[in-house]
Symmetry: C2
Subunit: 308 residues, 2 copies
């Protein structure tokens, strides 16, 4: 049995997966802040799978951990997980001796891509486009995660699509993330409220001009990312996930309209059938935790995970 964890900025999702790939237990708990608390969260999640989900935790063969930071391939060494207060943490050293099984980590977007691919049937090619505070994608083809040469594979958020667009935190203008990143939109909106993107959508519906601009920028950025992924990696499907996709059908309608407009203008874009190739990861999907479990259990990480 393999365990997979998706350690998010606020919550940690943990699943137990049997030999056939079926999720046999799942728990969610709050994520701690800082290296020690994150380590504690991982151990607590595994314990909770036993205590709360009835998983036989003596039968664990491997643990895989998806985490929002950079991970050295094939290891559990995490750096720059800034949303977790972690500058550097070797999760294998921190939790391996306690759990007594191999521990491997992976960047959370890449883990989600791998899990979404498995949930989608595990064949062909797919990009998972994460719409959260920032924007990044993971590409999986023929069961292999595209890792790239230097750790920037899927960093489509920092492709500029408009030299006159908003300034991105990266220093460029008109990055996809400056248009469509949840963080960038919330910062530009800059009004009180715990769900700023939903507030922008609501205000746009009520006719607020600035909200309309932000909302159309979001659709424009997501559509641009979809085009980049299909025109560069030619993935069959682009699956949208991440916090911003909580807007569900409202977001999909906007993105679909944006893709339809470019198909209307361009026979070439029309031939790509982009609208049909974009899907939404269902709310509450265990994709990231499942992907982490599969990556953690891979016998030959270098074989499973192509290096781009």
């Amino acid at each position: 049995m393999k365990i997979g964890l998706d350690v998010g900025g606020t919550k940690t999702d943990a699943v137990a997966v049997d030999a056939g790939g079926t999720i046999i237990g799942r728990v969610r708990l709050a994520t701690g802040w800082g290296p020690e608390a994150v380590t504690g969260t991982v151990l607590a999640a595994v314990r909770a799978l036993g205590a709360d989900a009835g998983v036989d935790v003596t039968a664990i063969d491997s643990v895989g951990i998806g985490i929002p930071g950079q991970v050295e391939p094939g290891t559990a060494r995490v750096v720059h997980a800034v949303n977790l207060g972690v500058d550097e943490l070797d999760l294998a050293a921190a939790v391996g001796p306690v759990l007594g099984v191999p521990v491997r980590a992976e960047n959370d977007v890449k883990a989600a891509a791998f899990g979404a691919y498995a949930l989608h049937g595990g064949s062909g090619s797919m990009a998972y486009l994460n719409l959260g505070t920032g924007i990044a994608a993971g590409v999986v083809s023929d069961g292999k995660l595209w890792r790239g040469a230097r750790g920037t594979a899927g960093e489509v958020g920092h492709i500029s699509v408009d030299p006159g667009g908003p300034l991105c935190r990266c220093g460029q203008r008109g990055c996809i993330e400056a248009f469509a990143g949840g963080g960038a939109i919330a910062e530009r909106w800059n009004r009180p409220g715990s769900l700023p993107i939903r507030d922008v959508f609501d205000a746009a519906d009520e006719g607020d001009g600035f909200a309309r601009e932000l909302r159309s920028g979001l659709a424009r950025g997501v559509a641009a990312a979809v085009r980049v992924l299909v025109l560069t990696a030619d993935v069959d499907t682009v699956v949208l996930g991440g916090g911003v996709t909580a807007l569900g059908a409202r977001l999909m309608a906007d993105v679909g309209a944006e893709l339809a407009a470019s198909a209307e203008a361009s026979p070439f874009m029309r031939s790509l059938h982009l609208e049909e190739r974009v899907e939404l990861l269902p709310a509450g999907s265990p994709a990231a935790a499942l992907g982490a479990a599969l990556i953690g259990a891979a016998r030959d990480p270098e074989g499973v995970l192509a290096h781009g």
Copy 2:
């Protein structure tokens, strides 16, 4: 021994490659127009390798053909090779019986990518960015060509990077190809001359405002394509080739300045070291013909050529 041909719009480059991968003979001849003439060109090129380059054409094991059109993977069935006057042509059926060896074709940019990768040492990851009439790229990683799901892998030319940019022949505005495609620049320049891109560079040097605009758009488009390839596929190296690269150091200086400007503006872009990762395919490089030879000789095209 394997034969590789790069059937271009005006010239065909043919090489003979020994078992160790070394080019042991090379000829170039004019390409015919239309399916029959293209077939004749292929046969004439193989004969010329024997007659003019001293290659023992009785010892040929395979023929691979790079051609500017769409090719069904693992076959020699070419469609829409418009620059050759070919709507549809099965090169295996047309020349296989005469040559008596397996014949396989590949899109010319993908063949060039595969050959450039081999010439570059055959390890790591590389994108070959072809700057010709149009703009397209081929990505090779760990010895595998990224083919994609539906034949649009590497079609970075039709990613829009400026909604206020020039109209592209594809119908969109501000496509990379609308800025940097040799055809688009020549059309916008629209003055007599057999080397329009060189004329634009010369006129820009002489202070012509419109030429300066076109020339800076070319650098901007190429730099955008490099960023897209590194931020999506995270290739180690981007190799520039194709007719427009005849401008050599003048083009590279412009592209380098454009990449340096974005590195100046953005610490993130600076961390990518893009300037150091862009290279120019040497003038007269046999990359495309060599790549065609290697693809033609691959025992398991489905294994060698990843399907994205």
